[in-house]
């Protein structure tokens, strides 16, 4: 009994329960849900969305917000394809270029926030506009089509069974994130700064460096997500990243992240992404009136978060520790 109550207090328990219930129910109504092809489709969606969510999660961990996640991802995506199409760079070099751009954007965010002392919300609002503007300025809203076959086949290839190659970078990133936040000083510092910036400074942590590192990681993850989207869509759409913002917050928050900072969970965030993906797909599978999709999605987010809250709520007062 103690085991279960302990388990139920972890961040990932609620989302996991919700995921399992959702899978069971949907599978019960529609046999195709767990078909290999459908699992593959789900994994493709999750692969990208998880990176987007992590990109925001790391900033939530330091108690800030990064509104420019989508703009960085979009910029990295079109730089990736643009470099291959216009300059003829080989794909691996173009990937590196895109990631460097992502990190650069992140460092810029972090440095501006740190040097000016202006809230991250305002800075990333401005850089959102700048990054997106550069994207539009370069592309003039036209997609780049010059995606080489190697990238296309990577985007379409399967590793084992229904598991696409695209999921591999995401799995690696997930493990790395978990390791960083659990086992590496830099991850602990990020959480410490998010929990109490003042105390972190007094404990000898360089708050400035930590904030900049967190933003660099965020930029890197957004850039990886951008590159993966290109591999998946097989074109360099300038609009990549435009609708990442809501998802990027929804998943960590469903996963129990505290917006004030200091507490995030990689596993629960991943499950948050899974839940959103399942819901989105279920709405299509059940042929729900397209006009109602948004309503259901909003209600589902509310329900998931509410469930989480209910679980986390403990009796107040005497004896609660």
């Amino acid at each position: 009994m103690i085991q279960i109550s302990r388990l139920s207090r972890t961040d990932w328990f609620g989302p996991l329960l919700a995921t399992l219930i959702a899978i069971t129910v949907i599978q019960g109504f529609n046999d195709n849900f767990l078909s290999p092809f459908n699992i593959q489709i789900l994994l493709l969606a999750i692969a990208v969305n998880a990176l987007v969510a992590f990109s925001q999660m790391i900033i939530i961990a330091i108690g800030q917000m990064n509104l420019s996640v989508g703009a960085i991802g979009g910029l990295a995506a079109i730089s990736f394809v643009g470099a291959m199409e216009v300059w003829g760079l080989p794909a691996p070099l173009a990937v590196i270029l895109a990631l460097v751009i992502g990190v650069g954007c992140g460092v810029l965010n972090g440095a501006l926030i740190r040097i000016t002392g202006i809230s991250a919300f305002v800075i990333t609002l401005a850089t959102l506009s700048i990054f997106k503007g550069i994207n539009l300025g370069i592309t003039e809203a036209q997609p780049f089509y010059g995606v080489p076959d190697s990238v296309k086949s990577f985007g379409a290839a399967l590793l084992v069974g229904p598991i696409p190659w695209l999921a591999v970078p995401t799995v690696l990133v997930t493990v790395a994130m978990w390791f960083m936040l659990r086992r590496m000083p830099v991850g602990r510092f990020i959480l410490a700064v998010g929990s109490n910036e003042h105390a972190a400074g007094l404990s000898g942590i360089s708050v400035g460096a930590t904030v900049i590192i967190a933003h660099a990681v965020s930029g890197l993850l957004a850039a990886i997500a951008g590159v993966l989207v290109v591999a998946r869509l097989q074109i360099g759409q300038p609009s990549i990243g435009d609708d990442w913002l809501i998802l990027s917050f929804a998943a960590p928050v469903i996963g129990g992240a505290i917006l004030a900072g200091g507490h995030v969970s990689v596993t629960a965030t991943l499950l948050g992404v899974v839940i959103v993906a399942i819901i989105t797909q279920a709405l299509v599978l059940f042929s729900i009136d397209p006009f109602l999709v948004q309503v259901v999605l909003g209600a589902m987010i509310l329900a998931a978060v509410g469930l989480n809250k209910l679980r986390a709520r403990q009796p107040v007062g005497k004896g609660s520790a």
């Binding site: 086992r183 000083p185 404990s203 942590i205 590192i213 004896g319």
Partner: protein, 519 residues
């Protein structure tokens, strides 16, 4: 001992903040193998001096010497590396991190990417916990500890640095007497090992017990500089701190038995776990509610105010049974008031002005047609009380956060004076308050009671209780364990009170309920 060379010296330290000169050329010399008291009233500059010494603030002028050579600390990390450790007054732990990790955070900062070995970390933390007789698993998250234990972990963290100079800013504020004794044993051991310790406390008894040298600050300057404690008595210390002799008015007997009851609780239980609480406060009476931290006193106060639910029993105001649905109703409908122990988060709205803070409870009374509020009216209504309490502020538009702790406390009292409530709960009135303000506050509470206000004072400071209360009600573990009528004789009363809670303290040992944490 006098032959030894100073391990650390601060010379002519000045520190200016916008609008304030916090330190005006302060000197302090620290000797190895000594415990050095740093005293002063709130706002005298103790904490600022500590922050300069530990690299949090850069001094505007003056020099710091380590082993006789001039040095500069660019950051707290730099100071730590040079052997200066500190336990700050405010809590600096990360609640979700384990005890071991909190203790070792400084060491981890050496490498950003080197994976953490948690078992080594736990092993490394154990000796320091054992040194403090702390029987906790180093892997426990700090959030699961009691306040007192958090304080001890913080000290363990400082010890683990094995600093040559260790500064402790009010380390005993939330410790029980036995925990304090244990701490002192360790401090003495460190001293004997050659460490130079700086001890800051408002409790002069403790200072006299453990310190051998003393520096006193007054208004950002030295009132006495690094002299031996030999031959200095309590009165001398007080005189140096406040610039004149201590003049606390003594307890006097007041008879209020004939007065009508203002607040009465009979068999009250609350949603927080209070059971069968009986309490009665008469007009003009000061009733003390004594208990240790975690006994459920603040919670009872908040339940009376309508913040938490009363689940059983009867609450009477002026003899009439009432149900108080929320705090607003308690204040506006029943004339009850509550001065929180936690000024910064519950007592005051720090980012608002003095005027706004002092006026909150009377806004409703002063609002005119369409709810219009005029600053002039609020100003006129609160000014007399602010003046009476000698609040020092450049203007009433000053943000409260910029004022000293003592002035903040005065404002949080003044707003209830202005509100003119008939029943006032005062929770830990003298936490973080200097001697002068404390004495003044006591006098004020007596005056208020004489004028007819019923007062419930919550305190875990026995001398304060005995100086103030007419009757003392003792609470332990969410129960009222008994009542003592105050005779003003310290030894008798303290014995009686300790007798009422002694047994309970013995067996509650391990986990103290944790409702009074304020983060």
């Amino acid at each position: 001992m006098s032959e030894q060379k100073a391990i650390f010296e601060a010379r002519g330290i000045e520190k200016a903040f916008p609008g304030v000169m916090a330190l005006k050329g302060v000197n302090m010399t620290l000797m190895p193998g000594s415990i050095h008291a740093l005293l002063g009233e709130n706002g005298a500059g103790k904490s600022t001096l500590i922050k300069v010494i530990t690299g949090v603030h850069l001094p505007s002028a003056g020099t710091l010497l380590l082993d006789g050579t001039e040095t500069q600390f660019s950051s707290p990390r730099d100071a730590i590396a040079k052997g200066i450790g500190v336990v700050h007054q405010e809590r600096n732990l990360f609640p979700r991190f384990s005890v071991a990790e909190n203790i070792h955070l400084e060491q981890l900062a050496a490498g950003y990417l080197k994976p953490i070995n948690y078992s080594a970390l736990n092993e490394g933390a154990r000796p320091w916990l054992e040194a403090l007789d702390l029987d906790i698993d180093p892997a426990t998250p700090v959030s699961e500890l009691s306040v007192a234990r958090m304080q001890l972990v913080e000290i363990a963290k400082a010890l683990s640095l094995q600093s040559r100079v260790l500064l402790l800013d009010e380390p005993t504020a939330s410790l029980t007497s036995s925990e304090t004794e244990r701490l002192f044993t360790i401090l003495r051991r460190l001293r004997d090992g050659g460490t130079s310790l700086v001890f800051v406390s408002h409790k002069l008894e403790e200072v006299q017990e453990i310190c051998d040298r003393v520096t006193v600050l007054r208004d950002g300057a030295n009132a006495c500089e690094s002299r031996s404690m030999d031959g200095i008595g309590r009165h001398d210390l007080v005189q140096m701190m406040i610039g004149r002799a201590e003049g606390a008015a003594a307890w006097r007997h007041r008879d209020t038995t004939g007065q009508p009851e203002v607040l009465g609780l009979s068999d009250v239980s609350t949603s927080l776990g209070h059971k069968g609480v009986n309490l009665s406060v008469r007009k003009g009476e000061i009733v003390g509610l004594y208990g240790l931290v975690g006994a459920g006193r603040t919670e009872l106060a908040k339940a009376i105010m309508g913040k938490f639910k009363v689940t059983a029993g009867k609450v009477q105001v002026n003899g009439k049974a009432v149900t108080i649905p929320n705090v607003a109703s308690a204040i506006h409908d029943h004339g009850l008031g509550y001065i929180s122990e936690d000024r910064k988060s519950e007592g005051l709205i720090l980012q608002h002005s003095v005027l706004a803070n002092a006026g909150v409870p009377i806004w409703r009374k002063l609002a005119g047609r369409f709810g219009a509020l005029r600053d002039k009216r609020i100003h006129d209504a609160v000014l007399p009380y602010l003046q009476k309490l000698e609040v020092k502020t450049p203007s009433l538009n000053q943000t409260v956060a910029n004022l000293s702790g003592g002035n903040q406390q005065k404002i949080s009292v003044a707003k209830w004076l202005a509100a003119g409530v008939q029943f006032l709960i005062v929770d830990e009135p003298s936490v973080g308050i200097d001697i002068k303000t404390k004495a003044y506050l006591h006098e004020l509470l007596r005056e208020l009671a004489d004028a007819g206000t019923a007062i419930l004072v919550i305190s875990s400071d026995m001398p304060e209780m005995i100086a103030l209360a007419d009757r003392i009600v003792v609470m332990d573990d969410y129960h009222i364990t008994g009542e003592v009528t105050n005779s003003g004789v310290y030894d008798d009363i303290s014995h009686a009170i300790m007798g009422l809670i002694h047994d309970a303290e013995e067996d509650s040992g391990a986990v103290v309920p944790l409702k009074e944490i304020s983060v």
